[in-house]
Amino acid sequence: MKYRAIVPTLYIIFLMLPIYWLIAMSFKTTNEILGGFSLFPEKFTFENYMVIFTDPSWYWGYINSIIYVSLNTVISLAAALPAAYAFSRFRFMGDKHLFFWLLTNRMAPAAVFALPFFQLYSAVGIFDTHLAVALAHALFNIPLAVWILEGFMSGVPKELDETAYVDGYSFPAFFVQVFIPTIKAGIGVTAFFCFMFSWVELLLAKTLTAVAAKPIAAVMTKTSSSAGFELGLLAAAGVLTIIPGAIVIYFVRNYIAKGFALGRV
């Protein structure tokens, strides 16, 4: 049994190396970074972080990102819940084709949609709002949410529905009071995936915003233009983008293993 631990350990070390390097960089001064190689920061500095926390154009990047990611998670879940229920419980005309068509949207390269999205959202008048990014990300998150939720819902026996109707629940009451609590692990996992894919996406988020809703990922590009290449600042901004993800993982840690089976196994 002991030998087997070597594989995951080596893998985790491999995962942590670049992250360690990013963190180490974020505490170095620009001079030290460009001056040569050092494994640990020699002059430990919080300067890079101070820049981010005191400059509104920096910290608003984080706030904007969190707003549209949350909005996207809510929209995706609200739309996907009834749809997934229909796919898991009913057969209706064209259901299989519809399901695959939904999945195809997950396959569309974001690069293909960047320009048309820009024009569409400008025409509708929501360009540079959080809603625009949240809706655009719904394109690939809704199919995924339907897919995951359908898996979880299919794992719930149909007798639950029937018993509830016998007990006198109307459909909406049953759905909200009985069904949703039953699959709350599934909803948590789905929310995790929606958060994840919306948080990490940059191309669409950057294309659909200019000033008011500029995501952190787009703000970060300014480190390379102003005053040369500020690696320390870039590293600090990068470290701060890892934190929300780490918090979310911590909350779902007990569901991760089961949840990734998507309720299907």
Partner: protein, 286 residues
Amino acid sequence: MKTINQKGWFFVLPVLILVAFNALIPLMTVVNYSVQETFGNNQFFWQGLDWFENVLRSERFHGALGRQALFTATILAIEIPLGVGIALAMPRKGFWVPICLVLMALPLLIPWNVVGAMWNIFTLPDIGLAGYVLNNVLGIEYDMTQNAFAAWTTIIVMDVWHWTSLVVLLAYAGIISIPDPYYQAAKIDGASSWAVFRHIQLPKMNKVLTIAILLRFMDSFNIYTEPFVLTGGGPGNSTTLLSIDLVKTALGQFDLGPAAAMSLIYFAVTLLVSWLFYTIMTKDDK
């Protein structure tokens, strides 16, 4: 058994409206561009299918498609077996499980441009950890801005770093769902660990692996941000994958017609391969 109930359409309606708004209108815009020529000023001229012919015949598109296929095939060939192997070696219960899972899931939640920037910093020849160790400790000449092979190795290692965890987590979820009696029965029969893997664990992982392969195929085929930040498609064109080439054509040169035609061909290729995977891997489900 599912009941036949056309009311299902009502439930699907919100999703339909949202996705149709997001997918159909932009897709029509792309189709519209793909058959027209523009010289700016919003003047468009009918062009027919010329752009499609041009793209399909162009060396540049073949090159990008070839590099894309090579990239996707390589990372699938590494990530799927590696992910399954790591999942098999993971502890099944105990104190270390949540720690392993959280640490492994971490790369998945890092924004893609940060992944690119992180690897950029990590591999800088003289001041990055990996670059320094390769050049100055191991004595391997390594500079991905000069050497195409180094650039390729770097984007592949980066993708393995970034996404293997997804395969691990999916495969692990499949493995822990296997009830203990299966293993006990195998032990009584004196099954080798290969037999256990082949006849118990692999069939149980079938479904999650389908998901893993599909997701990894779609996402790696559409990859843009990470290699763009890391190498910018260079040196030369050596790491210009399909999406990078597409954005160069569409937004860089503003050749909307060819870019739109290329988009549609690109999308069609992704769709076809995904459909093949999906059909082959779900054919035993029925």
